[in-house]
């Protein structure tokens, strides 16, 4: 040890809140609604540095839309957004019950994060491709052309499961809805989205890609490859980082969020970056449109860090009361995205408590009906699933001899 030097100490970040201790959310560095500027879509990446450390917000405490980011959106569109968020939350709640009833083996909610995927979906057009994680079910539920029954059949791994029972529940794939196949391996899709965007540019297409990742998964190497490739090739892609503060039990500081932001990574890689209130539906819509316009205008990629809070458990296999305060969400300063948009719509006379209750009941009935219909096609629990012969298909485009042989062996074994 050199003389006079004090011993080095390893720094291991900790959340301020643990079970029994309230979280101090001052680390979030929030801006007031309307406070943050809206640069032109032609902005060069370096000129977005300030935006990577502040927070784009539209809705104020009273639910009024203020500032330069107020999107052009009529009441009908916002009502559609509110209904999509409510539908997503009701769907999640119903599937959580189905998992507890052992009708499905596993589930992951997006409670508290509904605005991000549903709002973003409204900024994209048919033909764009999203590369989601397992917590963007709102991208599907925001669409009128995606039957909930198809989603529930995937969750139940039944005879009508579009993925033939091969995937864990929640790992949807729906090409026609611009929803890429979900993989269990974190971050892999982030660079694939960039490749998809590059392909669109190579072909002189007008379609764009939208990439999704959580705060924890930004530590994976594919996050960095995606930023590098997106920047190098100026790929038409929106790089969405959903910072819900938690990666299972690890606080976002352990992913590298302490004293910095995930948006700042984008600026460091030469990508225009925004940090946005993820529970503010209007801000989500405005920022998503800004990024989509940049991508479609050949102006390059945009990284958006969405600040939100994972209100529910990580998954049905997780108990958050073991690592964070039980009432944490109630203290999260950005609130509840559904309550905030409903407040705004009521404020402009485009929504009422009666409508809210009526919509809630209608959506619950819709989800229940979809669940009933899906149950008609069986479930993993009752054995109504794709036959084992389907297990050998789609490994390759055509089944090689060794798989034909293995399928024959299984069939012979089952016949006894």
């Amino acid at each position: 040890m050199s003389q006079g030097a004090s011993p080095l100490r390893l720094h291991v970040p900790e959340p301020t809140g643990r079970p029994g201790h309230e979280t101090d959310f001052s680390y979030l560095h929030l801006s007031r609604a309307g406070e943050v500027r809206r640069p032109p879509v032609e902005a060069v990446p370096a000129d977005t540095s300030d935006l990577a450390y502040t927070l784009v917000r539209v809705l104020d405490e009273q639910g009024r839309a203020v500032g330069p980011w107020v999107p052009e959106a009529d009441a009908a569109l916002l009502r559609r957004g509110l209904v999509a968020m409510m539908k997503t939350r009701i769907f999640d709640a119903r599937m959580l019950i189905a998992q507890r009833q052992k009708k499905i083996s596993f589930y992951m909610q997006c409670l508290g994060e509904e605005a991000i995927a549903t709002g973003h979906a409204l900024a994209l057009v048919q033909g764009d491709m999203c590369f989601p994680t397992y917590r963007q079910q709102g991208l599907l539920l925001a669409r009128d052309d995606v039957p909930m029954v198809d989603m529930i059949c995937e969750l139940m791994s039944n005879e009508r499961d579009p993925l033939k029972g091969r995937q864990l529940p929640v790992c949807y794939s729906m090409k026609r809805a611009g929803f890429f196949s979900i993989s269990g391996n974190l971050a892999t899709q982030f660079i694939q989205a960039v490749g998809w965007g590059m392909a669109s540019a190579i072909k002189g297409d007008t379609r764009i890609a939208s990439a999704w990742i959580g705060d924890g998964a930004t530590a994976e190497s594919d996050f960095h490859t995606a930023l590098t490739f997106a920047h190098v090739y100026r790929a038409p892609v929106i790089l969405n980082v959903v910072n819900n503060q938690w990666a299972i039990s690890t606080f976002q500081a352990i992913a590298g969020g302490e004293a910095t932001t995930f948006a700042a990574r984008g600026v460091g890689c030469g990508i225009a970056s925004l940090r946005v209130d993820g529970n503010d539906f209007l801000a989500v819509l405005a920022a998503s449109r800004w990024a989509a316009e940049r991508a479609r205008g050949n102006l390059g990629p945009t990284l958006i860090e969405w600040i939100t809070y994972r209100a529910g458990a990580h998954s049905t296999s997780d108990d958050p009361s073991r690592y964070r305060p039980a009432d944490d969400w109630q203290h999260f300063p950005l609130g509840d995205p559904i309550a905030r948009l409903a407040q705004h719509l009521r404020g402009i006379g485009a929504w009422s408590e009666e409508e809210h209750q009526k919509t809630q009941s209608e959506l619950e009935a819709q989800v229940s009906a979809a669940m009933k219909e899906a149950e008609r096609y069986g479930s993993l629990a009752d054995g109504h699933l794709f036959g084992p012969a389907a297990m050998f298909e789609d490994v390759y485009q055509t089944m090689p001899p060794h798989l034909q042989e293995q399928r024959r062996q299984l069939s012979q074994f089952q016949k006894g």
């Binding site: 033939k164 794939s173 490749g195 190579i202 190497s221 490994v395 485009q397």
Partner: protein, 337 residues
């Protein structure tokens, strides 16, 4: 027919596919303007433009990951990893994504990509310019693993690989780039222009995947091999005077089982030869297959000649590389049993 080196044959395959299919794109480290560190992509960017043939950042995971995304869009990317020794950062994308995409999405998406990697030793490449990692791909369901041993097969197999809708790992033995190599490192290189397999048709043709070839017909013993070791086996047969039937697998997995089985049933003896390390190497799978399918025809235990279970050394190259003397000794043992 013009004489081509393996480098020229591979380039010819990509040139032809770039011309035939607008969805073919080629990229990788140093692949664009410079034409590749082995010259395999030389001139292609000038001919087809930067949007079809381009340089990539030094990021194997990024190269393969972006190719999967392009494949999902509808392109047919042919990407290069500069040395097979450097594919490891892309392994997650290869195993968890490219190989599984069709299966996990029930055909909704797939990855029609070809990943080219120069592989193999015999060039004083040391630990990270000599490896033969084929078994790390053959073990992965959903991948096709291919390795040519000569210019004619190299072109036909690469065209077939690019056209195939499954992800293909295309391993190129760099020791064979300029001429056949039989392990006699002390002798001058014979160029491909002096070998019949250096005669390569200029136009379009394919060598089908999952098809092995009888490289040298024989009656005494079957040698199952691929890549550089095909020529080493040929030299060993000549030098021992044993009438070895040499099977060049060409497609490692899925493979052409009937050709192997027919040969071993005919000869009753089998040696399996590869450069890669022995334990859990691809030779173990081949041994198991021959044992399962030819047990009652075997007159001797199956021999495996492989690289030692060590990292690939620099100074001890020729003690490591399974040359004709070691392979010949194994052939004799099989005949004596």
């Amino acid at each position: 027919m013009p004489a081509m080196t393996m480098i020229q044959a591979l380039r010819s395959a990509m040139d032809l596919m770039l011309a035939r299919d607008d969805n073919v794109v080629i990229y990788g480290q140093d692949v664009g303007y410079f034409g590749g560190v082995f010259r395999v992509t030389e001139g292609l960017q000038a001919k087809y433009g930067r949007s079809r043939v381009f340089d990539a950042p030094i990021s194997e995971g990024g190269i393969v990951g972006s190719a999967i995304g392009m494949g999902a869009y509808g392109l047919r990317p042919v990407v290069e990893v500069q040395f097979a020794d450097y594919f490891y950062p892309a392994y997650d994308q290869i195993v968890s994504e490219a190989a599984r995409l069709r299966y996990r999405s029930a055909g909704d998406f797939f990855a029609p990509i070809t990943i080219r990697m120069p592989c193999g030793g015999g060039i004083y490449g040391g630990q990270t310019h000599s490896q033969s990692p084929e078994v790390l791909f053959t073990h992965v369901c959903g991948l096709r693993t291919v390795m040519p041993s000569n210019p004619r097969d190299a072109k036909g197999l690469l065209i077939a690989s690019i056209e195939n809708d499954d992800p293909v790992i295309f391993l190129e033995p760099k020791r064979l780039y300029n001429g056949p190599f039989d392990g006699h490192h002390d002798q001058p290189l014979v160029p491909w222009s002096q070998h019949p397999l250096g005669e390569v048709p200029e136009g379009y043709y394919t060598v089908p995947l999952e098809s092995a070839t009888v490289f040298r017909p024989g009656s005494a013993l079957t040698a199952i091999t691929y890549g550089t070791m095909v020529f080493v086996c040929e030299a060993a047969a000549r030098e021992t005077g044993i009438d070895v039937e040499i099977i060049d697998l060409r497609s490692l997995w899925p493979l052409d089982l009937p050709t192997l089985v027919a040969s071993v049933k005919k000869t009753g003896r089998c040696a399996i030869v590869h450069e890669a390390t022995r334990t859990s190497g691809f030779g173990a799978e081949l041994t198991a297959l021959v044992q399962e399918h030819c047990f009652y025809h075997l007159e001797a235990p199956i021999e495996r000649v492989a690289g030692w279970d060590t990292p690939y050394p620099h100074a001890q190259e020729w003690a490591y590389f399974p040359g004709p003397a070691r392979v010949g000794a194994a052939f004799r043992r099989v005949m004596e049993d």
